[in-house]
Symmetry: C2
């Protein structure tokens, strides 16, 4: 445990090296909840973004290395902003919606399992754990939600204004759904981190069950009675080839 | 360990319930390698596909539930097939490239860590582990590689033929890159599963290092001397907000 506390101290004292330099507004409450717990700390985060990237033509493999950002927003996108950004394309521009992404270092594997449950049940079904050589346990919250649309080739725009208009609507709908999932994640996270005895007394006082407990009754969370005992939904077994978990 | 052997037996004796009913050709060698090892078995797989889905208009959230497949291929896509499939759209059609996806149940967490290393170093950077309540350890091999392009709205096609032509090229390039990564995964997997002493004698005989070892020397795999000791690359730490691991 000693090393977890040291890692957390070192990490939270470091300078934020991201382009933006601060935690995104829409997830600062989640980052706070996690960093205020002695079982977790966040190592990287993005609330979700709509981004127009200009890549090198005829070389899709190096798109990420040799690309420039023509436009980025962590909020809903305005068509005018996208159109004017697209005019600056000299290579192959691609519009992407990238959903909420969060990496959380966890004290113990059970803490990672708990967060995995919270994430999957909030709709972040591509989440997963990694276990490093020095015992670092990282939970990555990832969504299946995406959008990746080529819009120009060698600087020539390939689609018309109506299509771009439609695309902005689709991207903004995805941003809305992303925010709903973030709020769901926040709610379940709070319920999951409240000690079980306190949860019971809240339920007795209010005569209500917690959000987390209600979800479990609908069979969407698979777990025991106490929050620490909540266990991930298991992946469907024995479906070889072509089987899509999320259909 | 008893239960792992039982799970494996049950799983491999079950009927394949996928739409296709068999393992995709391009990954059957990988599935065999894993299922022939006493440390792993596969629970679901898809070699990668180009798919045209027709979803319900104005309701992106239920796209996956109430959608029909207009077209699917696990090989490269022909423009004629895509155009004729698109003509059948009555709702919102979306073209997707979905890369290689593999779920592998692992005997121990260390086996999962080994596979995670192999996956990330082959280019499948969204891979991750889950640990279930009965001790089931599942490694999911997932890629960041994708394409998701809306093509029609309420049955009306939104783009012209030239754009569809360009899109088919992009999707086919992604399919090629996906196959390269699959072959890389197969190579690294084989090296990783060869016992360390056998690896050493092969190197002495051939006077060469293994593919896996060569990659490690270039600093792309972080690990010990024996294959079982190979440990995942650790996620970059302390990069809060907007930081993208894969840039």
């Amino acid at each position: 445990m000693e090393s977890f506390i040291q890692w957390k101290k070192q990490c939270l004292n470091k300078i934020d090296l991201s382009k933006k330099g601060s935690v995104d507004e829409d997830i600062s409450h989640i980052v706070s909840v996690l960093n205020n717990s002695d079982r977790f700390f966040t190592t990287s985060s993005c609330s979700g973004r709509i981004i127009l990237i200009d890549g090198v033509s005829d070389n899709p493999d190096v798109q990420k290395q040799n690309c420039s950002w023509l436009f980025v927003t962590h909020k809903k996108c305005q068509i005018g902003d996208l159109v004017s950004a697209l005019q600056k394309s000299r290579g192959d521009a691609v519009l992407k919606f990238e959903p909420f992404l969060l990496h959380i270092q966890c004290r113990q594997i059970e803490d990672g399992q708990l967060l995995y449950s919270v994430a999957v049940n909030s709709g972040f079904r591509n989440s997963g754990l990694t276990v490093g050589k020095k015992g670092k346990i990282i939970m990555a919250v990832r969504s299946t939600h995406g959008l990746e649309v080529p819009l120009s080739h060698k600087g020539q725009v390939l689609v018309n204004q109506d299509y771009i208009h439609f695309l902005v609507e689709v991207a903004n709908q995805k941003m809305d759904e992303n925010l709903k999932r973030i709020e769901r994640f926040h709610g379940y996270l709070q319920s999951a981190l409240i000690p079980a005895d306190l949860q019971r007394s809240i339920r007795l006082e209010t005569g209500e069950e917690s959000v987390y407990k209600r979800r479990r009754k609908r069979g969407q969370i698979d777990g025991g009675q106490e929050s620490r005992e909540i266990i991930p939904i298991e992946l469907e077994d024995c479906m070889d080839s072509g089987f899509d978990l999320f259909q």
